[in-house]
Symmetry: C2
Subunit: 214 residues, 2 copies
Amino acid sequence: MRIGEFSRRVGVPIPTIKYYLRQGLLSPGSLTSPNQATYGPHHEHRLRLVRALNGLGGVPLARVRAVLKEMTAPDATTLGVLRALREHETEPEPDQKPGPDYDRARTAVLESFARRGWRTSPDAPEVRKLIATVLASRSLGHAELATAALNAYAEASEHTARGEARYIAQGRDPRDRAERLVMAALLGDALQASVRRLALEEAVRTTRAPGGSV
Amino acid sequence: MRIGEFSRRVGVPIPTIKYYLRQGLLSPGSLTSPNQATYGPHHEHRLRLVRALNGLGGVPLARVRAVLKEMTAPDATTLGVLRALREHETEPEPDQKPGPDYDRARTAVLESFARRGWRTSPDAPEVRKLIATVLASRSLGHAELATAALNAYAEASEHTARGEARYIAQGRDPRDRAERLVMAALLGDALQASVRRLALEEAVRTTRAPGGSV
């Protein structure tokens, strides 16, 4: 199909498609004449992937390129793709600097995972983010909430992640499995954030405060 | 305490504190002399709350002000606070426009919640985001993943949200409950995103693909 039809099918404006082509995020179409190119299902799939990563996942375009490269590498590994996916995420600097409070929060986070048998690296960026979150919660007097929530989320995520890992493992080759992994990670981020906000709204509606409203 | 000690205790630079004061995010300290103010535990708590909302929750400062106002209103309601919290979130415009695919995705999302008995508004911004996510996943050939993940996350969130709602209901007054709600919502967002990434990594490690690596 020509670029006009390609644009309509996918719902992405032609200038955006041309920009992605210049940036190397899409491979060029097949030339049918010196200034006429056609695009096929491979281009369509790739464009939707770029849009999903950038639009839904909030992954910057420069990082989308790195993720796609990692996904399509002949020696693609799921852990490599996961690493490429998360490299764009910058964690907020915690206000509280290393000290006894920081160490206590770090221990709580790492122990929560160790108890579940997770082989989480203590230096993972996610661990630093979790420590900052626990510290902030404690400094506001909500230590109880932080600990309970950390365990509740770890348990809930263990369950959903197992389903996702099965879906990934069913991919027909490494490339398909890499794509499934990216979809599971992105989709999970997008779904989870919205679903839990709705779940909280619903739970608040049905849980009556002993003192009345709110 | 004076502003220098206040800054050290909370780990926030003095110019930032002064900026928050000018922006009305913190109430002025008590003047002990014409150009000397002191700050107490109330200021400290409020500053930590601003930092948690802005730093951990990624809520823009203009929106932090609206959330704090809603939280401290005499007639604060949890649903009002939830609404104020989410108003800063803009959903990505889906590439696919209304049509049969859109309607099918919308039905799938709404039915998944209706089956659980949630009284979710069909017009909630989260619902629009979920439809966009399901559509993107289907257009990439991962319809199965989208449906399974939506249900898995709804079930997992139902469980964690119940714990959060209990924590909120235990607050001693409407203001305390509003703060607990904000903490639960923010903390949940921050914890969940990191925890599920680690859970996915762990699940991938332990689930072997039939075809070998990845």
